[in-house]
Structures are given as C-alpha cells and as structure tokens.
Point group: C2
C-alpha cells in the first residue's frame, strides 16, 4: 500500500528532502546547499545520490514526489525564471524528475505548498475553504476553495503579497507601489521601524539596535516597548484590512498565518484580528478564525511539498 510520499523544498539557499508518512511524520530527511547545485543536472544527480537507496528500497510504498520551489508552476511542472535560483529560464523539473525516478512528480510554488501542508497535515486539516498567508521575507499566500488549491488559469494565483494595501504607498520590488508585502513581510516591518524611529523622538529599545530584525521588535514588545507595540499595531492594521477583503472574496473558514512574523504571536495576531473584524461585513463578524500554522517552521516546506501528492 502507498503510504508515504517524498517532499522536496527548493530554496535559494537550502534544499530539503523528506520521506513523509500520511500523517505528516517525517521518516527520513536529507539536505543540501543550492550553491552545490549550479545546474539542474547536478541537482538531479545529487538528489539521486542522497535518497536513491531509500527510494529503491521503499519504492512500493511511495505514492509520488512533490516539489515546492519559487515560481514553480503546477500546470506546466516547470520552474519559470525564478529570480533567486541559479537555474535560469524555464526548467521542466517535474518531467526531469519523472524521467529519473519513474514516478508521479508534482510541482508548485512554496506558498501553495505551505497551504497544502496545512490542509493535509496541519491547522486546516479537513477544511475545504481556507487561506494560508506566509509572512516571511516576502508575503505569499495559498487559497483553498471547494477543497482544492486555486492555481488560476496559468498556475500563478495566490499573489496576495502583491495586492494593494496602501494606494501610492511603499515601492515594492515587483515594480508596483503599496503592495501588502512592503508592509507585512519581515523586510516590510523593518521599514516600518525605520519610518517610526525617524518620525519622532519617542524613546524605544529599538533605537540602540543597528540592524533591527522582526525578532528584535518582538523582544522589545515583550519588554513593554511602546514603539514596538505601535509597530505591530500598524502592521496588524494593514494586514487585517487586507484579510477582510480576502474574506469578502472567498469567505474562508479560517486564515492561517505562517512564517517569521507570525511567530510574534499575540503582538501580531491581536491587532490583525481587531482590524480584520472592524472591516468585515456583518455576516462574517466573529466567525472567521485567524490561527497560527500547526506545522513546525523547519518542516513545513517539505511537508507541504509531500502533501501535494495526496491533494487530489
């Protein structure tokens, strides 16, 4: 009986591979550095070298291989022009993996994989309608409706991070202005710190730190720093307003927050919830759950990728 799947998480720095059982238990794990994989051919050889023996030994139990990668396209199975990977152009990764391992291979982008991980093994287990928002270096999202991930007509749906949060707001790396990502990502909140520190003379623990990280803001808030709490309130306001619009469109049962900023716990959840509620239509007030991911951050990407195999 097929009762496990292989998940591969491809990132700009690290590549993680895991053999995962149907309950999200990681049976075996491997990892390597992206810098050791200058081409996709080298990557394929290294994957085989790492997990080839395990794969052959357990072939009968493995349902397939799921891969999460930046700009991974579910429909085409290609990684398309990922700016932070050394592999350039259009890489038909699902096909190449299939040719090597002779098994079903599915590919999607990292935020979609996270959503699937949450649905198959985590906080959204059994939910047919929910939204996963990843608050990391950028802001990603995966929308599940009618029990299926929304890929859109081209496989690129779920770019909540590039919806407008502030008209004519901060310049985003994508070329647009005011994208949600420029406010509610790890880098966005650091911009907020700089703006708030420059704005007035309010004393704050954050003044003495050279390169503030989101962890520093959390630590300051824990010590009762008012500016740090104001910064979370401001960030939660922008996120909550956007999430209220998300609810109006897809009416999810829950919104799951994941990633570094979500780790700030009540400091980010409370204001986000408050401003989301303020901006909801009456029919949804008090009814939409805002919950943290239940997947361990270090495992989530591999779990999500492995979950792809079980989704449909």
């Amino acid at each position: 009986m097929k009762n496990q799947s292989i998940g591969i998480d491809i990132g700009g720095t690290n590549i993680s591979i895991g053999a995962v059982d149907k309950f999200g238990g990681i049976l075996q794990q491997w990892s390597m550095k992206m810098k050791d994989c200058p081409t996709v051919e080298v990557f394929l050889q290294k994957v085989e070298a790492l997990m080839g023996d395990y794969f052959i030994k357990n072939r009968k139990e493995i349902q397939g291989i799921g891969i999460g990668a930046p700009n991974g396209n579910f429909y085409t199975g290609c990684i398309d022009f990922a700016p932070n990977l050394p592999w350039k152009g259009e890489i038909p990764l699902a096909q190449l993996m299939h040719d090597k391992f002779g098994i079903r291979v599915m590919l999607t982008n990292d935020a979609n994989a996270a959503a699937i991980g949450e649905m198959v093994y985590g906080a959204a287990k059994g939910m047919k309608d929910f939204v996963m928002v990843t608050l990391g270096t950028g802001v990603g999202s995966g929308f599940i409706a009618n029990g299926e991930l929304i890929y859109g007509h081209d496989g690129f749906a779920g770019e909540l991070g590039h919806t407008n949060a502030v008209r004519d707001g901060r310049q985003c790396g994508c070329g647009k202005k005011g994208c949600l990502e420029t406010y509610t990502s790890a880098t966005g909140i650091v911009k907020t710190v700089k703006e708030f520190l420059a704005r007035d003379e309010q004393p704050s623990l954050l003044r003495s730190i050279e390169n503030v990280s989101s962890k520093d803001i959390f630590d300051a808030a824990e010590k009762g720093d008012k500016l740090a709490m104001e910064i979370f309130d401001y960030t939660g306001k922008i996120l909550g307003q956007s999430l209220a619009d998300v609810v109006a469109i897809t009416s999810p049962k829950a919104i799951v927050l994941f990633g570094g900023l979500a780790g700030a716990g009540k400091y980010i959840f409370e204001p986000t919830k408050k401003y989301m509620e303020e901006n909801l239509l009456q029919i949804w007030k008090g009814k939409i759950k805002l919950i943290p991911s239940e997947l361990k951050e270090s495992d989530a990407a591999v779990l999500g990728a492995s979950g792809l195999v079980w989704e449909r």
Copy 2:
C-alpha cells in the same frame, strides 16, 4: 433525456421564470410581480399556477430547477434575511420548491447565478477560471476557480462590491467606508457626477439634468462631454485597480463585466482595462481578458438560475 431546466430569478420587484434548453435557448417564459407574493406560500402557489401545466407535460425532460435570489445560500438552500424582499427571516426555499415539484432544486444569489449563466451559456463558456462582476444598482461578483463557483465556507463568498476601494472613502450602505460598490455601481457613479459637478465650474451637459442616470452619462460622453469622460475614467480607475488585485488572488483567464454600467461600452472598458494593466504584476500584463457579458441583460438572471442545474 434530460435536456432542459427551469430557471427562476427572484428580485425585489419582478420574478421571472424560464424553461431553458441546454444551449441557453429560452423555450417558455413567465413572470409575476413580487408585490403579488406577500408570503412565500403565495409565491409557491403562483409558480405552480403559472408553469404547472408546462412542468407536468415536460417533466421527463427537465433536469431540475435553479433559483437566483438576493441572499440565496447555495449550501442551505435558504434565502437568509434578504433586506429587499417581503419574505422575512430564513426561508427554506429550495426545500419548499422540492416538496411542491418533487425535483432537484438549487438556490444561489443573483451574482453567482450570473457567473454560472456566463459559464454555461455565455462569454465564459468552457473557462475554468474566471470572474464575473455585475455593475448594477450594487456591485456583485461570482468567482469560478477550477471550474467551480467559489461559495466559501458558508455560501456567501464573492462580495467584491464590499472590498475596500478607497481607504476611508464613501459611506456604504453596509456600514463600512470606501467599498467598491460606492464608486462603481449605477448609484456610485451618480455620486461621482455630483462630486465632480460640485468640484468646479467646468461646463458639462450633465449640469442641466435633474436626476442623472448612468445612461445620461453615457449619452453625454457620446456627445463628447469632457466631464462625462472624466467620470468614466475615474470610475474605471477605481474598478481597474480592484480588478488587478482580483487577478493577483485568483489569476482568472477573463473578467466578465455585466449590468447597466457595463453597457457604457468603451467608455468604461477602456479606462478599466488601462488601470487594471497598470496595476498588474509583469506576468499578467496583456494576458487577462476584460470582456462584456454575452447574455442579454433581460434573460441573464433566468439563464444563470437555470444553469445552476448543469454546473456540477
């Protein structure tokens, strides 16, 4: 063989019923006034009186009855507290109709029904991912992803009209401020006319009209009236910006515009398209169709309701 369905469109003023073939041809039509249906019981009696003979005669060919109604909930089959209907509270209409006619009955709200009509018979035929936006007295929407309508966890998804278009903008009837509906509905654009006329002394044909309608604005634009064109540009800007965010979330193949304001043709389509394009991520520029509905406005609601029966 089942090759037709009954569509019923329930509105605050009129109720329309049609027997529809699988290609969207209307075989027979009936209508009545809502004021003659003070209770749902009277409504049921009148429906039977109108189409009972036809129904019995064609029973073998009829697949089911689809109903579009304000606040119609697909999951529960109930009309829930519709503010503009005389029937108060929660009306289990699908069940009541089923009890009377002994056939499968499906219910949804009017904007969702319009989306289904477009998918089954109209401009979005064969599309698996598209969005329908109805620009009428209010702004409604229906989202189709993976070939299915997104109802959300409670049946109320698709309230694009109540997403934020302008932060702290116009007061909306829903209690919130700056909802898309307050700018891009028939009533919204009339508010824009008033604001623009009050703003400056610019000459305009619209100055001499007492109660401006969206048709008047269209007529003025046709005659080269600059203010009328500015008003369409402003409205298209707000709509286009919102649609760009819709694309980022669901990546539809097309967005179909329907309803009175969509009838303004190029005056509304051109600015909407222009501002949508300006706000799209690079990957979508030039790729998302913005198209008018292909359903005759007077038939669309009945067709959409009848299409419900064929959707899944």
